[in-house]
């Protein structure tokens, strides 16, 4: 038996020093421990309501301030709202300029929701009636299909106002920066790079012209929470090898010795602009039949650039209605906060060279703030009948980031993988044969 010993590593707190005891930053305020009686988001929703100023876009008819036309749209090239009658352009009101959505997160208590992030009214119908303030006509729209409306008689564009409590209207919009042509180019390139093993019908049917500009609804969450994770960590004190067996069958084994510590990391944290899907159809990212993870992967967006909602931004695009309430996202929020807690705790245990196994964890959400926004996406979707899968190739309408799911030609891929397996096995066989001298 032989023994090779490596130099002892230096434990945290100094070489050969006493084991580190529970430590705390001197003078630092002690964070309150996580408590199990965290208020339910659903119960707390409405405890505080953020109200945005009405800048004139929120209700009635949205009109050009120069010529009075209601034919207004978002000009992506100019990055401005533009009147299609007189070409006058102007900027929308930044959401941040109405309410501070960046600072004060650490002092949040309870659940603060914006007026439009409040619970969808139980009796809310997707079909609403708007009264045209220009000619007095009543216009009925189905907000499942569109949240934009035009008076059939005087052609004025109507705004779905704040009183519609069915989730159809968000607080803000992140307008498109990426043009339709740019998105088509990005999606075409993405698909082109994946043509070889792509499904044959997909290749035949793919046309980038079918890309759609879509505004999807999201909650933007700011929160303050306390977190604690606890587990066991080890620091290596020495390592050596032991060899057993005779000359023909020697087995060398490496062994380790370590000091074991109970490790606890407790901290307070704030998170700014965490996005959560507020449409149930898009919130499930685990269902492979819907490839919602593709849309999810295009997050985040810079919501500091979000403007106050006006239906003018939606002209020419489609949009989806919010159908989830803050209270329904309790589990999703906890999952994300726990992940953040684990991820940050991992950066605090660098001294443990043999790693830390976390055994227990807790977060205590102390305060949160919620607003609803529409985020811009260019989406090409394709339905694969054989596997009942809806594939998306999508572009972040603000940053131009691309992600997609391209359906596979499974027989071709399976055959190729089998061929590779056979070739590599044959090559290995030849190498082995040569190594053994052709015996």
């Amino acid at each position: 038996m032989t023994e090779h010993q490596s130099p002892d590593p230096v434990p945290p707190g100094g070489p050969a020093g006493p084991p580190p005891a529970a430590s705390q930053t001197p003078g630092a305020p002690v964070p309150a421990p996580p408590t199990p009686d965290m208020p339910s988001l659903g119960e707390a929703a409405g405890a505080g309501v953020l109200r945005f100023a009405d800048t004139g876009n929120l209700s009635g008819i949205v009109k050009c301030t120069r010529c009075g036309s209601s034919d207004i749209g978002w000009d992506i090239g100019a990055q401005a709202l533009a009147c299609r009658s007189c070409r006058f352009q102007w900027q929308g009101t930044l959401l941040e300029s109405q309410v501070d959505l960046t600072s004060g997160i650490a002092s949040l208590t309870g659940t603060v929701v914006s007026e439009r992030a409040q619970d969808i009214a139980d009796d809310a119908s997707a079909v609403v009636t708007l009264k045209c303030t220009a000619c007095g006509a009543e216009v009925v729209i189905n907000t499942e299909e569109s949240v934009q409306a035009r008076c059939h008689w005087c052609r004025n564009t109507l705004s779905t106002d704040t009183r519609i409590r069915n989730g159809a209207v968000p607080d803000g919009v992140v307008p498109f920066r990426v043009t339709r042509e740019q998105a088509m180019g990005l999606i075409s390139e993405f698909v082109k790079d994946r043509r070889v093993f792509a499904d044959g019908r997909f290749k035949r049917e793919f046309t980038a012209e079918n890309v759609m500009g879509v505004y999807l609804p999201y909650f933007v969450f700011d929160g303050s929470f306390g977190a604690q994770v606890q587990g066991e960590g080890e620091i290596q004190t020495r390592t050596w090898t032991e060899t057993t067996g005779d000359d023909d069958h020697k087995v060398t084994t490496r062994y380790y010795a370590a000091d074991v510590y109970e490790v606890t990391r407790t901290f307070d944290a704030t998170v700014d602009d965490l996005f959560l899907e507020s449409s149930a159809d898009k919130a499930d990212t685990s269902d492979e039949g819907r490839t919602n993870n593709i849309l999810n992967a295009l997050l985040p967006f810079d919501v500091k650039q979000a403007v106050q909602y006006s239906p003018s931004y939606l002209k020419g695009m489609t949009s989806e209605r919010r159908d989830l309430n803050v209270g329904q996202l309790e589990g999703a929020v906890r999952d994300r906060l726990l992940t953040i807690a684990r991820s940050r705790a991992d950066t605090m245990v660098g001294d443990y060279d043999r790693g830390v196994r976390w055994d227990t964890e807790a977060v205590d959400l102390r305060g949160s703030r919620w607003v609803t926004v529409y985020l811009p996406l260019w989406i090409y979707s394709w339905y694969e009948k054989e596997t009942d899968t809806k594939h998306y190739v999508a572009v972040n309408g603000q940053t131009g980031a691309v992600m997609g799911s391209v359906p596979l030609n499974r027989p071709l891929l399976g055959g190729t993988a089998t061929l590779v397996a056979v070739l590599v096995a044959a090559l290995t066989l030849v190498i082995v044969w040569m190594m053994l001298g052709g015996r």
């Binding site: 066991e232 490496r254 062994y255 996005f275 605090m348 043999r354 359906p407 993988a417």
Partner: protein, 123 residues
């Protein structure tokens, strides 16, 4: 995805089991196990090809990396490091069940240690 994962994990398991035998037998002059190498390398290459292409086309693992890209600020950090015991001899390179804590997206698997009601808040 499931098929590819199973295939790759099966091949990797086989590699872990067989390769040490092959190395040992070749070191001692025995060639009987070396002839099994194609059985390992072939499926590994085929499974790897399927896995790589599937991931590149379908991107099943792509999601919003909120823990990395969100603006997160920490305050009032407290570190507790209490010496428990010495582990005098082990073949494990890492703390026991360390792999369970490697991915922050995965919930903690360790057993509650006397504070189950407290820390099991979200179970």
């Amino acid at each position: 995805m499931l098929f590819a994962d199973l295939l790759v994990s099966g091949v990797l398991d086989a590699l872990v089991d067989v390769v040490p035998h092959l190395l040992r037998s070749s070191g001692s002059g025995s060639s009987q196990f070396l002839w099994l190498a194609p059985v390992v390398t072939g499926p590994a290459a085929g499974g790897g090809t399927y896995y790589v292409v599937h991931n590149r086309y379908r991107n099943p693992g792509e999601t919003y990396r909120y823990e990395d890209v969100s603006r997160i600020e920490l305050r009032n950090e407290q570190h507790g490091d209490v010496y428990v015991r010495e582990r005098s001899k082990t073949r494990e390179r890492h703390v026991e069940a360390w792999e369970q804590s490697r991915d922050p997206r995965v919930r903690v698997h360790g057993k509650p240690q006397g504070l189950g009601g407290f820390f099991g808040l979200f179970d």
